[in-house]
Amino acid sequence: MPTSSEVTPVVEVEKGRRPAGSTTRSAKRGERKGAAARVLGFVNQKGLTPAIVVVLMIVVFWAMNPSGVTLNTLSTLFDQSAALLMLALAQSLVVLMGRIDLANSALASFLCVLLVIWLNTLGPIAIPLVLLLGVAIGALQGWVHMYFQIPSFVVTLAVSGIVGGAGLIASGASAVSLIQNFELVQWFYESPGGIPLAFVIGAAIAAVLAFFVAKTARGRTLKAIGSNQRATAYSGIRTTVTVVLGFALAGLLIGIAAIMTVGQLGTASSGIANSLLLPSIAAVVVGGTAISGGTGGPGRIVFGALIIALLRIGLDIIGVPQEFQPIVYGVIVIAAIAITVNRSRTLSVV
């Protein structure tokens, strides 16, 4: 039975009965609020929030430890975030399609192991091989998911187990080290003229992907599928092909992430990149891509990845132990989704 407290009296009643003279004031207030809201709305709409957060974070860390924020640390920041950026971009494509890729870091680890082994045995051909394998496994995941109608989180979770095991077998369950051809992968981390290459390449790839998603017909279909797969199919678009393509592209990026990781460390083990799964999802959601698909995309990921990478360094600077960091990422993922999720869509039935 409804109690009287459930019937909230109208606040406007009083306002509405005010003498005419007082309305101007409240109207003005509304206007001013409107201006602030407009600025926020603009920032939000243009996806500028993550960029602003990056700058704020640098300022805060600098304030906390001025000597900790130098050109050198910033360059380390870029080096460290390059692989993460690749995985986050891969994840963003998949999330944009309304799917999720839980195999992303396990596949990267597996490819790292193979890359080291193949560079040692096969030579330079190892690099295209690894990229190809990334594409193939990605495409296969997408196809299995679409053809058998198995939710993507199930398929990718299963694949993460499979490639994890394969990585263990291939590496003999121990770390494998590059004994030759290191120079083929290490150049990523050089800084000709003080500009860290890893960052430049990462940013370029992100820009290309952002262009792909925002400006090409094919890229737009990824978004369409993430918003409404049925209507997309009813528009004459091959949804299976598109999803397979999206996963394949993600696989390619994961391959690049593997090359970057090996280039940085010169060694690999079956779990080398595994800790990046949560940060990659965190970067996607912090960057403002809706976890439910259909909005956002690679353009926003760069700053998402930077935020996460900054956080990692920031946590080091202020002395938070390594083992606490996954906890932080977990909390961030939940908080970012809680803040950005479009609740009006879930609550209002229309």
Binding site: M1, P2, E6, V7, T8, P9, V10, V11, E12, V13, K15, G16, K215, T216, A217, R218, R220, T221, K223, A224, G226, S227, N228, R230, A231, T232, A233, Y234, S235, G236, I237, R238, G294, T295, L347, S348, V349, V350
Partner: protein, 509 residues
Amino acid sequence: MAQTSTEAPALRLTDVSKSFGVVNALTKVSLEIRPREVVGLIGENGAGKSSLLKILSGNQTADSGTMELRGRPVTFSSISQAMSNGVAMVYQEQSLLPNVSVAENILLGNERGAVRDGFYRWKQMHRTAQRHLDEVKSGVSPSDITDTLPFAQRQMVEVAKALATGDGSPYDPVILLDEPTSVLESGDIETLFSVIRRVKEHASIVFVSHRLEEVLEICDRVYVMRDGEVVAEVDPAEADVDQLFRLMVGRDLTSGYFREDLSTEPTPDVRLAIESLTGPGFSDVSLGINRGEIVSILGVQDSGRENLGRVLFGALPAAHGSVRIDGERVGLRSTRDAVARGIGYLPSERKIDGAIMGMSVADNMTLAHPDVVSTLGVMRSRRVREVADEWIRRLAIKTSGPAAEMVNLSGGNQQKVVLAKWMLAPDLRVLILDTPTRGLDVGAKSEVYAILHGLAAKGVSIILLADSLEEGIYVSHRVITMADGKVTGEFTSRPGNRPSRTSLIERML
């Protein structure tokens, strides 16, 4: 009309306004809904009917103005708050949860005795749900999974759900029905009307419909809305359809609602040749359609006509048979094949299959034919905008512009966007339309008919799964009837030589 003058209105709105950015959805709307009456609400697409109901039902809040419930001022800050005060709404677009049982849907948010300690008491729940289903004379079982039901039955479940709200509330409920009949067939509409008449004994009902005859039949009082304002209050006993139309759009219903004046003779060459096509729910359909011919297919639910349309578009697999366009065989393997062959398809379930709500008007329009607005696969933003602007203008779509998100358009305007998606095709040969005028206002319907005649004049062959007998009869050159998956009749239809309603109905049953 049954109200006594001393009784407070069930709901009263005074000067309610609501805007979305630059769009004023409602401007100083004042109206009242009295106990035990059916209030009609009519207006063109985008007039603000749904917006008004959403405010009444707690789905949205007004920018200003007041609302009184049974004499007491209220604001509903949530749907559940409105529900617990006995105000419930059946949405224009369906809102049931697809993969749970009918009973759960009916009692959702209103479980009362059916939940104890956080657990469902299934027996009790099914009993209550059954009672509400009986009330709407629905043959659906409470344990049916909702998305296995056909559209019309789901609509009845929605009505039952709204009725459930009144249950156990000490007040007489207020039930808001937003275009409940747009997806129903005449038999179901009659059932719904008898339900409304019965419920009226203890409830107030707001009834939105674009079918003005219906409004005149069922309502005790009618409010007419135009551009977000209530412009007239009408007594249906003293009004007719033409008068309502005039009030709605501010001009006369031009003679020839079906725009027969624009109809042109099809050329004698066969454009679409269907040979003994068999698919899910229909078999052995053979049909030839000429260039520039409009063929409407009439049939009740499960007549197989919807699936025929889907198979022709490659959205459902054909068992056997062949389809040729201009002599060339069509693959029918995917919607992609169909679009590549110049076939367009407008699905009946706009929200689920037609519109992509999260994308812009322009993106929705150009999705199926990106070539029109791109070079080498790269979209040209200016071209996208121009094309979208052009179609917004040509179809008189009410929206803030090409960049507006689809979700912010009124139902009828969304439909026009989906239509535009096919009309901008560079080489449209066959257009299949599954009840395209469903949910459109009278004026917009007439515009759609004009558009169809225009397309036919350009040589497009049109298959129209008509929404009503009249539409089928007057808009087309030929009427096909289907029943139980078979073609049962074929009638030429030209001015002066139209098939009669009864001859058609005979073949549809």
